[in-house]
Symmetry: C5
Subunit: 335 residues, 5 copies
């Protein structure tokens, strides 16, 4: 069990940057009108720390239970005057796409992010989230609560697009291997494995992105009442991009299926070609062997055997049949 790392920051109305604050004095600092408190908990297997937060922020036991169980569905749920949002990021590290859960709990004036790190690091780059949020604060000149939520979603969706970009590159690569230029009869033993891997990645993105649509839609419908109009406009953009990720993933799956079927057809064609080649060469060589066999017979009365140039003629006969058959198969496109 990892110890939870919990940090907190405070954004005060009128001040541009954030200041770090103590985790055990959150209650005193809560001030929905002028302050946004942002608490981040990493690796909250340590339930004690989380239960302390629970008391500070006035969360119920249900929410803490839900957070401690990191196998949840993407969803938005209201608990009295605060909300629990469970989302999943997607990140591509060393060729493998990972999806990790992030729980967001937000009430008037505060927002808690709980990140479940896996072997491959923690989800969502918080500095990038802070950067985008602060950019918006400068523009809108106010402590904007909903914009912090938006910044998290925005970074999240960027991660999905990184994955689809990566998939685009891999699809191009697979396409080049399935249809090499110039065409070769080299077999492509790794293509099925790669197609399967990309397919798994796309399934991961889809499972993360598809239910997010409903969550963003709920925010646009103003189910979270302290996300105001200006932030909702930004969420419209997030909604659009989530839809676009879905479209992209579908189109990529379609291409992938096309490549899989094409690969099968190409392999099938190659097999046909190999079999024809085999038949042709087999026939040519067996005919020559047959001629050799005929003159290897021990009949007493075989006039050719006594001819001066019988041997040369036999070799010539072999050469000629070989050439004629080779031409014949070449013309039939079997060689």
């Amino acid at each position: 069990m990892l110890r939870a790392v919990i940090r907190a920051w405070r954004y005060v109305s009128g001040k541009p940057g954030r200041e770090e604050t103590r985790v055990d004095e959150l209650r005193e600092q809560l001030d929905p009108d002028h302050t946004v408190l942002w608490i981040d908990a990493e690796a909250p297997d340590d339930s004690d720390a989380l239960h302390a937060l629970k008391a500070e922020l006035g969360m119920g036991a249900n929410v803490v239970d839900a957070i401690l169980n990191p196998r949840e569905r993407t969803k938005l749920m209201r608990y009295g005057d605060y909300f629990h949002v469970a989302v999943h990021d997607c990140e591509c590290s060393r060729g493998v796409v990972n999806s990790r859960e992030i729980d967001i709990v937000t009430g008037p004036g505060w927002l808690l992010t709980v990140r479940h790190p896996a072997d491959d690091g923690s989800p969502v780059d918080l500095d990038e989230v802070a950067r985008r949020f602060e950019l918006q604060r400068v523009e809108h000149r106010d402590t904007e609560h909903g914009f912090l939520l938006w910044a998290i979603f925005d970074v999240l969706v960027d991660g999905y697009f990184d994955v689809t970009d990566m998939v685009d590159d891999r699809l191009d690569e697979i396409e080049e291997r399935v249809f090499p230029d110039p065409p070769t009869d080299r077999s492509t033993p790794n293509v099925p494995r790669e197609i399967f891997a990309v397919r798994s990645d796309l399934t991961t993105v889809r499972r993360a992105a598809a239910p997010l649509r409903e969550v963003v839609n709920a925010i646009i419908r103003r189910e979270i009442e302290f996300v105001d109009d200006e932030a909702v406009v930004h969420f419209h953009d997030v909604y659009d991009r989530v839809l676009r990720v879905g479209d992209l993933v579908e189109a990529q799956r379609d291409l992938l299926n096309g490549l899989l079927e094409a690969n099968l057809a190409v392999t099938s064609n190659q097999l046909n070609q190999v079999m024809k080649k085999m038949t042709s060469w087999g026939a040519i060589l067996i005919v020559a062997t047959l001629i050799a066999g005929i003159y290897g017979m021990n009949f007493r009365h075989m006039p050719e055997l006594r001819w001066q140039y019988g041997y040369a003629l036999a070799l010539g006969l072999m050469g000629i049949t070989t050439f004629v058959l080779w031409r014949y198969f070449k013309k039939k496109n079997w060689l």
Copy 2:
């Protein structure tokens, strides 16, 4: 025909545990405001016992008929002031997934579970149900009728997750066999059988879980009026988990299809490889045989036959052609 095993317990308001009670005095003990009566019938092929219960609990003949017919759909149906809920569990025993029916009939103050045992044991661990229900009773300090229903559903859904976890393991195992590391040309004769088995298991889970969503949804909409708000909050969680099972099963089916197609492609590639190898070695050996055949011809005038080192030269010629062809096919990646 098995004899039905019918037992009953009573939970009284204010008392923590349950006490076993007689099945033939249920009517006197019915007291919806202070008591929850829980009756469990196992293997109710014996309709007499069930009809006795019918009289005690005031159930109609339709319900008893429905219970005695163990091939029903998952559903929730109202009969006057009591309800019939038919659900299906899923359990994995010795590598095979079984789904068995459980009928729940519940009225004000009482709940009857009817379990249809199969060769592979009875569905739903009642002790676990009791444990979860009693935990909730301690927390909510009251005789909570709806929580007993919830406890059954909760244990049920846990069973689905056990199956999907098992399927996850088997998918990993199949993936390792389809794409061995390092790649081998060993054929995978059992993969189709395993994929088919996992597919059947997923179909079983899906058939059990998919219609459960509607049932849970009906409970959330408060169709069963004596399941109160606090219990409904817990059913929300069950609903979420049922959705998650559905998502998981879909994703696993998707992976499975991917593996099936990949396996076909891998087999196809291997066949190609085998055919190429075969063609190559066939060609090499036939050329050598041809040379042997040529010098086995009986022409009188074959100068090589009289050379001192003719034999060695012939062997050398065979060796060289073999080597040259071997290099050639190696370079073309056929060997």
Copy 3:
């Protein structure tokens, strides 16, 4: 053209059984409050008889036209104060599933069943329908109009379940042939044909059962006003079972697809295995033939030919290469 066989029965309120009655005196016997008239017409290609009925029962020309055209969709249609219900049964005779149309026309106090016999007999066992109807009459102590309609539907749906049971057996049989125990390399030439036949049967059941749902639903919504509450409760059960047939058929189709794909994969694996075996034995035998060829060469100076045990050595060499290669291929799992 077959002559229509038309018979009629009368159920009178208070009397338990049915009495046969004359077809040409129906009008006088119509008495919706105390009597249910049941007329059955078999093979009504003979439109005269049907037009006589039309006059007796006050049906319109449209209905008779619809009945005489036996290629209709399953549906429920109102014509003034009577109704036309077209349904399709499913029956399994000699391994083949047949679906035949039954037209039901029902007005206040009368019900006409029109059955279109095919080569394989007439649809729906009327005695079984009568038996179930009379059982209900005894229980409900009244001339119950809607229960007659219900009895027909009940027998119909039982027929669907007979087919799915039969399909279950055949699926088990196909599964055993695709995955024989112990595994053999015996090919399964008849499996595609059987899978295709089962698939056709499932399509037949689905086409019969799927639109029935809407019809039963319409009856439950009380579109036929003289089917009363008590009968509707029974139709709820029919509805549930129609849904279950649909679920079963879908699950069986799924299994069937799995078997088809598994069969293809198994065949593909077998081909791979056969090719490897072929390559291996080919190589072994050609190597031996090559050795024989070498010592069949006619060089003057081949020292081995003069050795005392040259012949034995050559045979030994063949034996050893054969054994070595056999071991090699065995180890590579090619033999």
Copy 4:
């Protein structure tokens, strides 16, 4: 550009038949209460003639544009007080299914049919339409405007059924070729081509019939106000038959897919069988050749060579190995 052939007929209330009338005096003859004017234009590439009609009938430019562009979707569109209905027929001529557009414009008292002929003739048999319309006029004793529209639809849908009947025959024929009785190892080179052709035909029917449902539904909902109740009853029947065509096409597609997959499986099985046969005969013949090769070796000391019956024994050895191997492979079902 073909010249348009435009003809017109007039049905007067109370008179049974139709009388041909002049195209350039339509306006004077318009009399919605007592007359139905039916104008038919074939091959209206000649826009002049159509524009003349436009003036006579008071149609707008949009409609004429739509008619002159013969690549439209099946639809029903209102333009002021008249309607434009675009439908597509299906006809099977010389084994190929053709779909051609028919535009119908209808206002109070008049109906214009515009038919776009293709190389394969003109769509819809007008005489048959007239026959059915006049039959209805006799029955309903009035100039019935909606019945003319109905007659066109009725003939149209009959055409769809002709195609599905034809497809039924071809499916039977393909099934017999895929599963010949008795089974042969004859390959079925034309089956893929035929399956593809039938598939294209089904796509054609579906594209014509699927959107027709919406159009008929709109008429049933009384969107065209001068199609009265009596005609709507007939359109109910058309609606039902359009649904049935859709069901049939789906079922046939399903069968076709089943045949395609079965054909692939059968081909795969045959290949397996061929490969086994090949391996078996190859092995048998090579063993015999090996024996011949052994006794063709030139060792000085080969005792068998000197035996009196050595030759006969060698031949016998060949015969025996051949027989033994033949029995062995026969038993393994490889031959």
Copy 5:
């Protein structure tokens, strides 16, 4: 970064043609009642120019951001009193289908088109748009704002049809290659590649056209209030054609899948045929070789070897077995 090329034109009420106008005096010229200003920006990577426009036309920063990000979904979005429409064209250049984004921003009296050129040129032929718009202006005798939007959509949809026409031609071509007339055993190595390419093209068209339906539907529902009734009638036609493109693409995908499966089946059949031919010729030649091998044996007592015509008889025997086997295989349809 390319410099943006921004041009502007003005249509004044009552004047037929357009006049070019300065980009930096747009504000003065805005006059929704009598003028339509059309501004076109190509390659707007240069945000400065666009921000100048923003000030002139009173657009918000969001819109400009959206325009500068050229990876958007097809959509229609309202911003205060103006609208942002993002659409995608499709064009076929050198056998490859390209889809490029066009952003349209339109407010009262002005319309801005922003085109994102790719390597393959700029989307949408503006001259054609102008031509169609001006034709409508002549007909409707007024400065019609919505018609300009319509003209863009009309040209766009024409582009989709160009692509589907091109796909039709390629499908015919592929069909001819899959089913050559007369049938040959020539393999079709490029068919998989071509099918994959056409499939990708269809995916591109579908992704461009599918979401356009919603946008056009929104315009028909009058969400853009300054597109008046007359223009909406034209948009109905666009809507219909967008639907038709979707239908066409679906039908073409269906045909494509059919061709893919047919190609696989044809390849499979050819392989079968090749294997049979191979087996047959192999058997024939090995039998002849065996005969030669038999008479090459060195037995002392082989009477045939001493016969006068032994050699001729051996050759004759070879010829006869070859002919007999050839006839046999021919009859079995293996050759």
